[in-house]
């Protein structure tokens, strides 16, 4: 019912821009960054995930979603032959994030298991120019009168305000891969009611990207709320095996108590289908095969954007 992304925007003091930022789009269009025969290899990856990986007729979503993700990451990593700085990335799973911030006298927190995080040695350069950042000052956050923006949030008693980039045993200071680069979310619950709708998945991506960016900013620049000189950029990809949501989040300010001033920016490209339908068993009507098994409606652009987000920051 309720608009997920709009509520997340108010909570994180963010301005929404449709489509991906121009720096990412330039990587998409640049033919030097393509893999040879990448369409063929992506189709192989989809077939592997959707058809070949199981002994039953069709694998369940919680099975094919992570397999597809692994294959796509493998394809992206094979580009590191051309760009050696790509090797300076690492993946972290089962990773807990904790970030706290105050928003108009309400204390908010993002906690919990994150999905899969990809860290890199070098941070992503800011995507928006200084003028765009200053222009967000005029943008007014929308209100949901009479509904309060914190509706449907879980109320918890807080004893310790935690701000953590997953500083467990392995992530201490001096760890080389310290900058959060991209977050990946796999919506792989089997039953449709347990799965997030695309709108809710985008809101979840926004909140977690914001949490990661905020925690990193507090580590770099301290706990005081202020406008950041070097904005922190975190990317995020969410999928349920077929539909992809791409997001680039730029944290411009940690001053979130008031609703005026510089806002954060997010570029969202939503509902990108990698393929329309993956037919496991051929469809037969009256003893005649109408639709043979295979992948229908494959769109190579979705994988190009996935690759562009992966390469962003090093190219």
């Amino acid at each position: 019912y309720f608009q997920g992304v709009r509520q997340a925007q108010w909570l994180t003091k963010t301005k929404l821009v449709e489509g991906l930022p121009p720096s990412v789009l330039s990587i998409v269009d640049n033919p030097a960054h393509q893999l040879e025969g990448h369409e063929e290899r992506v189709k192989h990856a989809i077939s592997h995930a959707r058809f070949w990986d199981t002994t039953e007729v069709a694998p369940m979503r919680e099975h094919y979603c992570p397999v597809l993700f692994e294959d796509l990451i493998h394809l992206c990593r094979s580009m590191s032959a051309k760009y050696p700085s790509l090797a300076k990335r690492m993946l972290a799973r089962n990773y807990k994030i904790a970030a706290t911030w105050e928003r108009e006298s309400i204390l908010l927190q993002v906690r919990g298991l994150n999905g899969i995080l990809m860290n890199s040695m070098a941070p992503i350069p800011p995507v928006a120019s200084k003028e765009e950042i200053l222009a967000t000052e005029e943008h007014v956050l929308e209100t949901f009168y009479p509904i309060s923006p914190t509706i449907d949030l879980q109320e918890v008693n807080v004893y310790k305000e935690l701000n953590d980039t997953g500083k467990s045993r392995r992530f201490r200071d001096g760890y080389p891969y310290s900058h959060p680069h991209t977050l990946f979310f796999l919506e792989s619950a089997n039953v449709r009611t347990n799965r997030f709708r695309p709108e809710q998945l985008r809101a979840k991506m926004l909140m977690f990207a914001f949490g990661n960016a905020l925690a990193k900013a507090k580590v770099l620049y301290g706990n005081d709320p202020k406008v950041l000189e070097q904005p922190v950029v975190v990317q995020s990809v969410g999928t349920d095996g077929q539909l992809f949501q791409f997001m680039v989040f730029q944290l411009n300010t940690t001053d979130l108590v008031s609703s005026d001033g510089v806002k954060n920016l997010v570029w969202i490209d939503s509902d990108q289908n990698l393929y329309e339908k993956a037919q496991c068993v051929p469809e037969v009507k009256k003893r005649v095969v109408t639709k043979p098994a295979g992948i229908y409606g494959f769109q190579p652009d979705t994988f190009k954007k996935f690759l562009a987000l992966y390469l962003h920051g090093t190219v």
Partner: protein, 250 residues
């Protein structure tokens, strides 16, 4: 997912929730197990949505002032003839009985303030009877302030505010009976939704069975004095106001 209790009294839920709760049908049987009401049984399974009949329920930590809410959706309720509306305000959502012409996206106000002048109320708002002009159509009436609506809740019904006397108000119910209540009792303005409910045609016996009504006995008996149209004067006005007894001075 809806939660179903396994003990016979399924109505044990204390905390209010918007999600539908699984309910157990009684089949017309009371706690001894024998049939108390004939003709009930079977019918489609229903899930109960907890309706908040007390419109003026303030949130925890909210001041007792007039507040507004937004209607998110209006939907069919299998447990009653009227439609229900999901409204949200502040930090909570609740179900209320929808009035006629309630659309998703409307803003409704709930107030307990009685001013000197009568308020021109919009449909769907809830005001105390003392604040409404005489002659408005109201529904979801309570007999005592804060008790929760118990009258005028069926589809398409409406009561009429007839007059206001001292600190009480007199309302005419849909059965043409008149009722006197304190003017601080809150009622919503407008007719209840699903107005054409009495014009529907059941069409077949099966539809009655889906509604949970079992057939009558087929035994023919001659009708006695209880049958036929009766014309009687209206019963006296029902007063829910405890006026102080006027005792004779010694």
């Amino acid at each position: 997912a809806p939660r179903c209790t396994t003990d016979p009294m399924w109505k044990c839920r204390v905390k209010y929730t918007v999600r539908p709760v699984g309910m157990k049908k009684t089949g017309g049987r009371d706690h001894t197990g024998r049939i108390r009401v004939r003709g009930i049984g079977g019918g489609h399974k229903r899930r109960y949505r907890m309706i908040d009949f007390q419109r003026l329920r303030y949130e925890e930590g909210a001041p007792p002032e007039p507040f507004t809410e937004k209607v998110i959706s209006v939907r069919y309720d299998p447990c009653r003839s009227a439609d229900i509306a999901l409204v949200a305000g502040g930090n909570r959502k609740r179900w209320i009985i929808a009035t006629e012409n309630m659309e998703p996206g409307d803003i409704i106000t709930n107030s307990s303030h009685i001013g000197r002048m009568a308020v021109l109320a919009n449909e769907g708002d809830a005001y105390p009877l003392g604040a409404l002009p005489v002659g408005t159509l109201i529904c979801n009436l309570e007999s005592h302030p804060g008790k929760g609506a118990q009258y005028i809740r069926a589809a398409g019904t409406c009561g009429v505010l007839l007059r206001k006397v001292n600190g009480t108000a007199i309302v005419q119910l849909p059965s043409k009976r008149q009722m006197q209540v304190l003017e601080t009792c809150v009622a919503t303005v407008g007719r209840v939704s699903n107005v054409d409910h009495n014009k529907r045609v059941i069409g077949k016996a099966g539809r009655n069975r889906w509604l949970g009504k079992r057939p009558h006995t087929g035994l023919w008996h001659r009708k006695g004095g209880w049958a036929g149209r009766k014309i009687k004067p209206l019963p006296p006005m029902k007063s829910y106001v405890n006026l102080p007894r006027i005792t004779a001075q010694e």
